[in-house]
């Protein structure tokens, strides 16, 4: 039994995560993704060491209870595998092995030396539902945040309470409109150098405001000042209307 295999082709998958499965934690999602690759019989390259694991690397962890149209995972397949004849079927087969609500929408072969998702993601776009707040009130609050020159926020980072100015992390903030239970915002939040999470943004909007649905529509990378997605939803993806999320192309 060969526990460690050479790293072969690297593949990037894009997937959506909506519905009940959004309550799966990031850590649990990684485990079930691993199982799904074994279910479809796609041999992955394994890490070396005491307990070899397949090499899977994700984009920015999705908070538990948030849904998304734009999740990414990079995998290295075993050198024994020729991916070319398989690749068109992979999104469909992988979706079938994953629970309802997780659907793979694109796959691509990565160039040798491609930078990891963790390094390359610079910002995310979110749809965030605020509960128990009137539209006018929410609009005022959003206006105040956008107009503020600085926004100091006390928060826990690496086990310590620190205060930092998070205004630079708010790249864009707009009120979309009312929902059944509250008001929806669209927020474009940086993940570096300063990051801001959706729950932290809601605290800035107002203490005591409840958070409803949180949905990630995009993860963005910025290369040479040009913003793009790590992998656009592919047109080669087999149409599967029942599981495909609605998705708006990035402008």
């Amino acid at each position: 039994m060969n526990a460690v295999s050479q790293q072969g082709t690297r593949l990037r998958f894009r997937y959506a995560e909506v519905g009940k499965v959004r309550f799966i934690s990031h850590r649990d999602l990684a485990r079930l993704m691993e199982r799904a690759f074994r279910q479809i019989g796609l041999p992955l390259a394994y890490s070396e060491g005491y307990r070899p694991r397949p090499r899977l690397s994700f984009g920015l962890a999705l908070p538990t209870a948030a849904s998304s149209d734009a999740e990414y995972v990079d995998v290295s397949v075993a050198t024994t595998v020729d991916v070319d004849p398989l690749i068109d079927d992979l999104p469909h087969r992988l979706s079938a092995a994953l629970p309802d609500g997780i659907s793979v929408t694109a796959v691509a072969v990565l160039e040798p030396g491609a930078v990891s998702l963790q390094q390359v993601i610079a910002s995310c776009t979110w749809r965030i539902e605020l509960l128990d707040v009137a539209v006018d009130d929410a609009a005022d609050r959003v206006q105040r945040i956008v107009a503020a020159p600085t926004l100091p926020l006390e928060r826990e980072r690496k086990g310590k309470l620190t205060t930092s100015d998070v205004r630079p992390a708010i790249l864009d903030l707009e009120l979309v409109g009312p929902t059944r239970n509250g008001v929806e915002l669209e927020a474009h939040l940086a993940t570096k150098p300063t990051s801001l999470r959706p729950a932290e943004l809601v605290r800035l909007v107002g203490e005591g405001i409840g958070i409803g649905q949180v949905h990630r529509t995009h993860q963005w990378m910025i290369i040479d000042d040009i913003r793009s997605e790590p992998l656009a939803e592919a047109s080669t993806c087999p149409p599967d209307a029942s599981t495909r999320p609605t998705y708006e192309l990035a402008s």
Partner: protein, 659 residues
């Protein structure tokens, strides 16, 4: 049919591990709610992580969903954070598949694997909006039934359970379904005219089903005189059910693959049921006789299909003593060969209990090509004298040989399981535990290894239908004293880590283990005082139990610490696991005489009653014990050998006990 999902969903972002409540697992049944079917809610009265892997529930869940006239969902006890939210919002217990309220099911079926989950059973019934007491239930309320090892003494829960299933559930589930279907049809519109006694009587007519309400317990002061049927036509003694051939039941076929981490997060394939090693403390070994092996080729195909379907890279071959499976080497080789063909990384084969000998270690070495974490052995007692008493006939040499082989094969950590508070245990026996552990560490040092030995000590709780059912459990003070002895003795021994089970929890377990119907009021008091999740250290509080015992005027010493006499009527005497009571008494006397008993799988029958009473037999592929010796430790008990064990001949079931 309704769903609580719209009300539940907003609560989930703020509770711990919300994935426990969403269902969506691979293997979950998709049979939708349908009022024409008898609906089962298979419930584990502890958290999802503990309950989901339970094989008994999964087997019955799948079988129920295959029946034409039944369907089944699952439920687990919500953790305290969600429970508080649910109670505040008036949400009932729900099924994870369809989020259907629990009280819309016909049957709430509980698995009882541990006594300390009893208060959770009451809590789940209450959360289901069903009255906790059978006497208070309305015609339209679900039937509350239970199965699992603890149901061999269901008396503490007699007031709360409509019916109890003894033994294997594979066959009886269809019979219960039929009875309930007919009862449902009898009740007119909405079933309001149903009579619960009618269904109770019909259930009691099924073999293996015990209906507590149809029996009265009579007392003379604290003493139980008898538990007798209170109606004609109800059996005086309820016999357990036993599936004769495991090969007929290749379940689960679609093991549930959870989306969040659970305690046994791997494929499980049951390779045999029953055990005849005859360890006298072990209830599981006594009540599941005889041994029924699954055919080896079926094991191999269940493993191959299960791994491919689930995507797991680990499989556990479960039983009470898997190394004893006939031709285990070949089975293991077959599994690893099959796995290698898929090319999807190494597959680990786990054995839940390792035999204490070189054969066990050889097997483990073969299984764990990839990992060398730790190896676990269960000698159970510290001295040979004590191990003869408990009939776990492992010699010191066997243990050292096993540990030596483990170090040779690359393991550095060894875990040893022991019981303390065993019958006639002296401090020398207790300290023998430390002695064994230290010798194991030294053995590692002599090989130049940085070896470490973890000693895990549990307090012994006597269980019904075992030879030790007459033994007075050690007090928690005495257990603590023994643990302290061990702690002091091992304090300076580098390499020995001592872990122990809280003796206070052992006491609470003892109250329930051999309790009678009067303990039901104690359980209800503990539950009403907020004592749920008693298996969890952060929620366990012995004071709740002692306060409840005092409030009910019940004496803990009498229930827990008292030795029982041969002629005492036991609370489970009207139930039967097939074992003759005089066989158990004789085995108890032999224990006190330090006399061992061979494994009857490979030696002549001594008529414990489990086979003869039901007209069934062991089903084993090979009549030769692995690695010789009926106890599997290379000892040839058949010819006396080097080990001073007296062979007992076939004993007629009428033999009077002799000390």
């Amino acid at each position: 049919m309704t769903t609580v999902w719209p009300d539940l969903e907003p609560l989930l972002p703020s509770v711990q591990k919300p994935a426990r409540y969403i269902g969506c697992e691979d293997g979950a049944a998709a049979k939708p709610p349908d009022p024409s079917l008898v609906s089962w809610l298979m419930t584990y009265p502890d958290t999802y992580e503990i309950g989901l892997p339970n094989q008994g529930l999964q087997i019955l869940y799948e079988i129920a969903n295959e029946l034409d006239d039944a369907r089944a969902d699952r439920a687990y006890a919500p953790w305290t954070d969600l429970e508080a939210e649910m109670r505040a919002k008036g949400l009932p217990l729900f099924s994870v598949e369809h989020h259907t309220p629990a009280d819309e099911f016909d049957i709430l079926a509980f698995n009882l694997s541990a006594e300390l989950t009893y208060t959770n059973l009451l809590n789940c019934v209450d959360l289901a909006r069903v009255p906790v007491r059978v006497a208070d239930r309305r015609p339209t309320d679900p039937l509350v039934i239970a199965g699992g090892h603890c149901t061999y003494n269901p008396e503490p829960l007699a007031d709360f359970l409509d019916a109890v299933v003894l033994g294997d559930g594979e066959e009886v589930i269809a019979e219960i379904t039929r009875v309930v279907r007919e009862w449902k049809a009898s009740g007119g519109e909405h079933g309001r005219d149903r009579d619960r006694t009618e269904v109770h009587l019909a259930l009691a007519a099924l073999e293996g089903v015990y209906v507590p309400a149809l029996y009265d317990a009579e007392y003379d002061g604290p003493r139980l005189i008898a538990t007798r049927p209170n109606r004609p036509g109800v059996p005086e003694v309820v016999e357990k059910r036993t599936v004769a051939d495991l090969g007929d039941w290749p379940y689960p076929k679609n093991q549930l693959v959870p989306l969040t981490e659970v305690v046994h997060d791997r494929l499980s394939v049951e390779v045999f049921r029953g055990c005849t090693r005859g360890c006298r403390f072990c209830q599981a070994g006594m009540i599941t006789r005889p041994v029924r092996e699954r055919p080896a080729d079926q094991v191999r195909s269940m493993v191959a299909k299960g791994l491919a379907r689930s995507g797991y890279d680990e499989v556990s071959l479960t039983s009470l003593s898997t190394a004893d499976f006939s031709g285990i080497d070949g089975v293991v080789k077959g599994i690893t060969d099959d796995a290698a063909q898929t090319g999807c990384g190494p597959v680990t084969v786990a054995l839940p209990s390792l035999r204490v000998d070189a054969f066990g270690v050889k097997l483990a070495t073969q299984l764990n090509q990839a990992r060398r974490a730790g190896l676990t052995f269960a000698p159970e007692a510290g001295t040979w004298r004590m191990r003869q008493i408990i009939n776990k006939l492992i010699r010191e040499e066997d243990l050292y040989e096993a540990v030596d082989a483990a170090y040779e094969a690359g393991w550095q950590r060894v875990k040893l399981y022991f019981l303390t508070g065993l019958p006639s245990e002296t401090d020398l026996d207790t300290l023998g535990i430390a002695e064994l552990a230290k010798n194991c560490v030294d053995l590692g040092k002599s090989k130049g290894k940085r070896s470490s030995v973890t000693v895990s000590v549990g307090g012994f709780v006597p269980k019904p239908f075992t030879p030790f059912q007459w033994f007075g459990q050690n007090t928690s003070d005495e257990l603590q004293r023994k643990i302290n002895l061990l702690r002091d003795d091992t304090r300076k021994s580098k390499g020995v880590q001592l872990k122990w089970h809280d003796p206070k929890a052992t006491l609470a377990e003892g109250i329930n283990s051999r309790g009678d119907r009067r303990i039901g009021r104690v359980i209800e008091r503990v539950w009403r005082a907020g004592g749920t999740f008693q298996e969890w250290t952060e929620h366990f509080d012995l004071d709740r139990w002692t306060d409840a015992m005092a409030a009910e005027g019940l004496d803990i010493d009498w229930y827990v610490h008292r030795h029982r006499a041969e002629d005492e009527v036991l609370p489970w005497d009207h139930l039967s696991a097939g074992l003759h009571k005089d066989f158990l008494w004789q085995d108890w006397m032999d224990a006190l005489d330090e006399v061992g008993l061979p494994d009857c799988r490979w030696t002549p029958c001594y008529d414990c009653g489990a086979c003869t009473g039901y007209g069934i037999e062991h089903r084993v592929a090979s009549a030769t014990p692995p690695a010789g010796g009926s106890q599997g430790t290379a000892q040839d008990l058949g010819t006396g050998g080097a080990v001073p064990v007296q062979l007992l001949g076939t004993r007629p079931s009428t033999t009077e006990a002799s000390a």
